[in-house]
Subunit: 337 residues, 2 copies
């Protein structure tokens, strides 16, 4: 009895008319897939629509921080998530990015790049956030071969090696400190001569003998053959260029949520442009929930990990299920009245 | 360079003097084990102390809601978590419950039932909460053989079967509604004639033709042979007893955090006795973090799932790591002054 979730007498809108569901999950990273898994387990008629499969998880070279599954290639872990969702028969539409989310009557309707249109009472946004890139030669080529956007994830691979961290904020500095406890040496490359990180991190970075500061400098190229062997760095004051030999480059210059898209929906965003969610992952718009890297606000602990994204997906699904029970009840009243 | 975490010049208190660590994780369910995994990955010198291994996860007959690992016995999943932590060389002390947590100078010191004493700058409490039991004959015997304390977890095993739900709160009623979408019939047994759940759930339960209310009634015995076959129910008004044939019994009468123990530490608790945590899992006591089923308060979405407990453990570890960086910095200042 799919799409029934404990309410067998009144099934308004449950029957499939064109593409109509109870819930649409947008995004198929760990957050979206877990939301779909939980919704399916609650017998909520659900569809997943995504531009890709697995999100950032799928492109991680090696994941060792998803508890219970040590040292698994990200692509394999993504497959495991996808198969778990497929077991429950949830359709997953891939390669078709969602271009709009609009209120229509008592439903939310999405449109995709290919012109597909799907409506549902609930939309769970799990569309992630793009890591900011340096946009220099060699960067894309060496992702997973020395170039990383997550020290917490990939740091342990660089034991006793030499690495560079690029950035000047909290995540760059805590990454440098963490990597200094693993790697032999850490270069911290920052385009200014001061940091916007907490003073405590700045002090610790400056007093750590393993960390060498390379200030007023930008990376202009990532060098290597099969994997990273060095970086070309330019001093922005003098214009001087030099090559620093490194085994790895950690690019920690933040993430970029799709602000314009989120604003077009009418969502309340936090200062950095992430969706402001409540502890139950609900947003300012009734029926829209958010989870994973796109979720933020004062209640969210932004950590960008697979395990936290997945948990937020589970919470969003549970809250969405309760929301569906509530609106279904209101509909029942209407049909009685 | 264990116990260094990016601060190699000053190592006050890092050296092991007797049993001294940087962090103590109390509890070895999914929250505690994930906290330990993340702390170990941050090179924080960590020990896990627990009364048991795996927590409630280990006694679940079959887990199908931990994304990526379908249909796994709880005991096996617990092993997978434990092995992942052991890979990082974290010592796990099992079978020795913690009896006190006290501030001593700049550290927190725990004592265990066997008299062991361990001190650290950080304590992460992941001690879970006991599901409330009916305490009737047959209950313990049939756990995992028809008796369940989690409809979200075990519901899918009862497709087209007959089940009973015991309780009158939100979790009992949402469990009954959910199970009605899976099972053939659901008896809802409640000792009073009214419910303390949200009206929306009460309405839906009452209007669901698959749910039969058995009010003013208590379960006095769970019957069965190899697995549950029925329950003996007594009407508290008339004293009349009868047997209802069921394949499963879902006991949804809440959880019980160890309030007295938590109060003895000086922790701020929420109305139900769970530890009031901030979004980063910190508590009112600096250096003490809480995660998993024991954590509550207005920022926590209490869901009692493996995936959410694990995520909270990861967050607690990340926040604890940042806390350690900060206090280490303060110590550095002292030693300079």
């Amino acid at each position: 009895m799919k799409g029934d979730w404990g309410m067998s007498r009144f099934r308004l809108g449950v029957a499939r008319v064109g593409e109509r569901y109870d819930a649409i999950v947008v995004g198929a990273g760990p957050a979206g897939l877990t939301a779909a898994l939980y919704l399916a387990r609650y017998n909520v008629k659900t569809v997943v629509v995504s531009k890709d499969l697995g999100g950032n998880m799928a492109i991680a070279p090696l994941v060792d921080d998803y508890p219970g599954i040590p040292e698994v290639p990200g692509a394999k872990l993504a497959d495991m998530f996808v198969n778990h969702v497929k077991k429950y028969g949830v359709p997953i539409i891939v390669g078709d990015p969602v271009t709009s989310v609009k209120r229509e009557g008592d439903m939310w309707c999405i449109e995709t790049e290919s012109g597909r249109r799907i409506c549902a009472y609930v939309v769970i946004l799990a569309i992630g956030a793009e890591k900011r890139k340096l946009n220099v030669p060699g960067e894309d080529r060496f992702v997973g071969k020395g170039v990383s956007y997550c020290a917490t994830c990939d740091g342990p691979l660089f034991k006793d090696k030499v690495v560079a961290v690029v950035g000047g904020g909290n995540s760059a500095l805590t990454s440098a400190l963490y990597l200094a406890s693993i790697a032999r040496k850490v270069y911290l490359i920052h385009r200014r001569d001061s940091f916007k990180a907490f003073p405590v991190y700045v002090e610790k970075v400056k007093s750590n003998p393993k960390i060498e500061l390379v200030l007023n400098s930008i990376v202009t190229e990532i060098l290597g053959d099969k994997k990273v062997t060095g970086i070309r760095v330019r001093n922005v004051d003098t214009g001087e260029e030099r090559v620093i030999d490194v085994d790895g480059v950690f690019i920690e210059i933040g993430s970029e949520p799709p602000k314009d898209f989120l604003k077009s929906i009418g969502l309340e965003l936090d200062e950095e442009g992430y969706i402001a969610v409540n502890p139950d992952m609900s947003t300012n718009l009734p029926g829209i929930f958010a989870c994973g890297d796109v979720a933020g606000g004062k209640y969210a602990y932004r950590f960008e990990q697979i395990i936290t994204a997945a948990a937020e997906g589970a919470i969003a699904a549970d809250a969405a299920y309760k929301y569906l029970l509530k609106i279904r009840s209101a509909k029942t009243e209407e049909s009685r009245g």
